[in-house]
């Protein structure tokens, strides 16, 4: 049975490799505000018309600054930095806000995935939008490192109706770079795990039990 699971797992990993997700690497030069007790905001929201499901993850958050802890999470968002944050677009406001004392640099990855990215339905009329903002105050009212003084966004990423994504930067200190290739969606990682577990089990059966067999 496990052999079957392994085969299934390998097969699904193969499919996962085909599943589409857009990955962006974000690097922010925060050296100009090092030591500032500010804040960070991430939100990922649907549009006002018919919106297809989409999700987003913040991965590999790293900085020589320090998180304040006790983040404010609103809507369909889970996780706590520096661990992975996961957003869905099921409610109007899906927001992660946390105090942050800036160091000299800040980086993370943004992964966009889900049906709206991998298999756009062609009938939905709204996309979804991710926005990242930095503030020089803990309350999140004074934009930092952005030319968008009205709304305070450092950059936004829009999931378009055709499944593509578009980044709009507002910060000269922020670099948003598309990753070289697509990555498996998170649901696929579970299947990969199952496959690897089966492979491991089979390996133990084949080799690990030899001593026991001698008993």
């Amino acid at each position: 049975m496990c052999r079957h699971q392994m085969l299934l797992g390998v097969l699904l990993v193969g499919f996962a490799g085909l599943a589409h997700a857009d990955l962006y690497e974000v690097t922010v030069d925060t050296s100009s505000i090092t030591g500032t007790a500010g804040s960070l905001d991430f939100n990922f929201n649907p549009g006002p018309l018919v919106t297809q499901d989409a999700s987003l993850q913040i991965l590999n958050f790293a900085s020589d600054g320090s998180l304040a802890g006790s983040p404010a999470l609103t809507g369909d968002v889970s996780g706590i930095l520096p661990a992975t944050l996961t957003f869905d677009n099921g409610t109007a406001l899906n927001d992660y806000f946390e105090g942050f004392t800036f160091g000299s640099t800040l980086s993370f990855e943004v992964s966009l995935y889900g049906p709206a990215v991998s298999s756009p339905d062609g009938v939905s009329t709204s996309g979804s939008t991710f926005a990242f903002s930095m503030f020089s105050d803990a309350a999140g009212t004074i934009p930092a490192l952005t030319s968008d003084t009205t709304d305070g966004f450092a950059f936004t990423t829009v999931v378009n109706l055709d499944g593509t994504t578009t980044v709009t930067p507002f910060s000269s200190q922020t670099t948003v770079t598309p990753a070289a290739s697509s990555v498996p969606e998170p649901s696929s990682w579970a299947l990969i795990g199952i496959a690897l577990a089966c492979m491991g089990t089979l390996h133990l059966r084949r080799y690990g039990r030899k001593p026991g067999g001698n008993l």
């Binding site: 905001d41 649907p46 006002p48 018309l49 018919v50 009329t125 979804s128 939008t129 709304d151």
Partner: protein
């Protein structure tokens, strides 16, 4: 005897029209002499146009199986004088009572084989002068006996109409003889805009009937119809709509062509009118009849009748056919809708509507100067009005015109009242309803005169008037999409964009207003351009025109204090909102 041909009542012909009336041709003769009782020479008079003649053929054949047409030749303007017992004249009966212009209509029953015999007789008129009258050959008796026939039907052959066997009696020195040719229609669609229609008049015996100036201009051709579709609207697939405004269809007379839209018969009536705003000969969509039926007579030679019908002598004894000269109905407008998404119900107003700020504000009522009503089809018989089954917004009477399973629908309206000296515009409202998840699509509509036809010859079966289909598809829908809404902690607004796209094959004129109807309660559009019918709208900046496939995007900002899901139903209005 000398004769010259001129045109009178020269109309402007609609370039879209296949059966357009041209002006009367009047041949006026003077001089000569006639021998009393001598049979007059009979000539065939032929009018030739460079375009096909499309005068109606009567379905009843005459002698020899030849079919006569509604084109008529009248001698000496009968009935325009004083006709004893018909139109009493207080100042006497003119030069010769019972003859000439004082005669009643008297049709020659053999128009297809050689006309009717006639002879001239000298008689003394009431003014003491001597005149030559036409008799059947016998001496003119007192009280009008033996008048010669004075109405002849023409025989159409392609671009010619011929009046056979017309007797020619020289009028002598004191009178004139008038041959009026009326009721000729032609296919004006073969002319370019601004062209003139010239006639060529010939006779079979120029010695008996010599005609100078035999090439009169009998018409001017001009494009006449301007159509537009305003208030084009896009609807989101989700949710539902009930009688939501989807567009305003407009039919306007072209500049300097105020008489393009016509009622079936002349809309100018005496006073008092039988019904306010209506004229004898018109029928109303409420079933009131004001002279409608077989008595649609407008029979004064030389009169300008601003109707689809011209000179109409009624059921005159001796003429082949009935209702000679009578059109089948007034000017009609049609709208053909295509590519209707499945699941969408389409409604149109049964009458024209008043429009303000791009919104239909109410129905035009019977009695208004410019009134039109929905009929059952392009060529439906006069009076086939469609009753309203649904009352729409602002008490506009509506009827559903879609057919389940079909992606097309059509509507046809007929002009009931119109102003022949002012530019008229008739506007009709379109509404849609649907429940959840109809098919996606952009409906188009073609606007034109009705009925359209490809029959460009004289026939007995095809309607008059009829028109070339000059319509161009206009789109009823502009698609609307939106981005996601990023939340700004600074402005405390949800920010995004809304994009409109012209999905049709024709350009759509702006400006464009996106109306945010049914916006979620508690949500406020902060960058609104204004409010219409209680809903905020944004004018898409800097866009005056959308070519096919072109898009335009505008930013939107919402206040949403409760973080509820922001939703609205977009509607796009093309045209200015005042």
């Amino acid at each position: 005897m000398t004769c010259s041909a001129n045109a009178s009542n020269i109309p402007t012909a609609r370039q879209e029209g296949i059966t357009e009336q041209i002006g009367d041709i009047v041949i006026t003769c003077m001089g000569g002499n006639a021998t009393d009782g001598l049979a007059a020479s009979q000539v065939n008079i032929t009018v030739t146009l460079i375009s096909t003649i499309t005068t109606r053929l009567e379905s009843t054949s005459g002698v020899g199986g030849i079919t006569a047409s509604d084109a008529l030749l009248l001698i000496d303007e009968p009935t325009t004088g004083c006709v004893p017992g018909v139109s009493p004249c207080s100042s006497g009966y003119g030069p010769v009572p019972y003859f000439g212009s004082n005669a009643a209509f008297n049709a020659c029953p053999n128009p297809t084989t050689g006309g009717c015999s006639a002879a001239g007789y000298h008689v003394v008129g009431t003014d003491g002068s001597v005149y030559v009258v036409e008799t059947t050959g016998a001496s003119p008796a007192a009280l009008g006996a033996n008048q010669a026939p004075n109405v002849y039907q023409g025989i159409v052959n392609s671009n010619q109409v011929t009046f056979f066997g017309v007797p020619v009696v020289a009028p002598g020195s004191n009178g004139i003889r008038i041959y009026r040719i009326t009721g000729i229609r032609t296919d004006a669609s073969t002319f370019s805009n601004g062209a003139v229609v010239q006639a060529f008049v010939t006779t079979s015996n120029p010695a008996a009937l010599p005609i100078s100036n035999a090439q009169p201009i009998v018409g001017f051709v001009s494009a006449s119809l301007i159509t537009s579709v305003a208030g084009t609207t896009s609807f989101a697939q989700g949710g539902s709509q009930t009688l939501a405004p989807a567009g305003i269809l407009a039919y306007s007379e072209a500049n300097n062509f105020a008489s393009a839209f016509k009622t079936r018969v002349d809309p100018i009536c005496g006073t008092p009118m039988p019904f306010p705003g209506l004229c004898v000969g018109q029928i109303t969509p409420t079933g009131l009849t004001a002279g409608q039926g077989s008595a649609l007579v407008q029979n004064v030679p030389g009169t300008i009748y601003n109707g689809e019908s011209g000179f109409t002598p009624g059921n005159l004894s001796g003429l082949i056919g009935t209702n000679i000269g009578l059109a089948d109905f007034g000017t009609r407008f049609r709208a053909v809708f295509t590519n209707l998404p499945a699941g969408v119900k389409l409604y149109v107003s049964t009458v024209n509507v008043n429009v303000a700020s791009g919104v239909a504000t109410g129905p035009v009522t019977i009695g208004a100067p410019s009134f039109a009503a929905l009929v059952t089809g392009d060529s439906a018989a006069e009076g086939s009005f469609v009753a309203s089954t649904v009352t729409g917004p602002n008490f506009i009477p509506l009827v559903e015109i879609d057919t389940p399973g079909s992606s097309t629908a059509s509507a046809t309206w007929e002009v009931i009242t119109t102003r022949p000296t002012a530019i008229d515009t008739y506007q009709f409202a379109v509404y849609i309803s649907y429940t959840a998840s109809p098919a996606v699509g952009a409906a188009s509509v073609n606007l034109a005169y009705a009925p359209t036809s490809t029959i460009f010859t004289s026939t007995s079966a095809d309607p008059i008037p009829r028109f070339l289909d000059t319509s161009v598809a206009a789109n009823l829908e502009i698609s609307v999409t939106a981005s996601g809404l990023a939340y700004s902690r600074v402005s405390q607004t949800f920010n995004g964009t809304v994009t409109i796209k012209n999905s049709s094959s024709a350009a759509i004129s702006g400006p464009f207003q996106i109306v945010f109807t049914l916006l979620t309660a508690g949500v406020q559009l902060t960058n609104t351009s204004g409010v219409i019918d209680g809903s905020p709208f944004i004018t898409v900046p800097g866009v005056t025109n959308l070519e096919p496939g072109q898009t335009a995007t505008t930013s939107v900002q919402f206040k949403d204090p409760s973080d509820v899901k922001i939703q609205f139903t977009p509607e796009v209005i093309s045209g200015s909102i005042n």
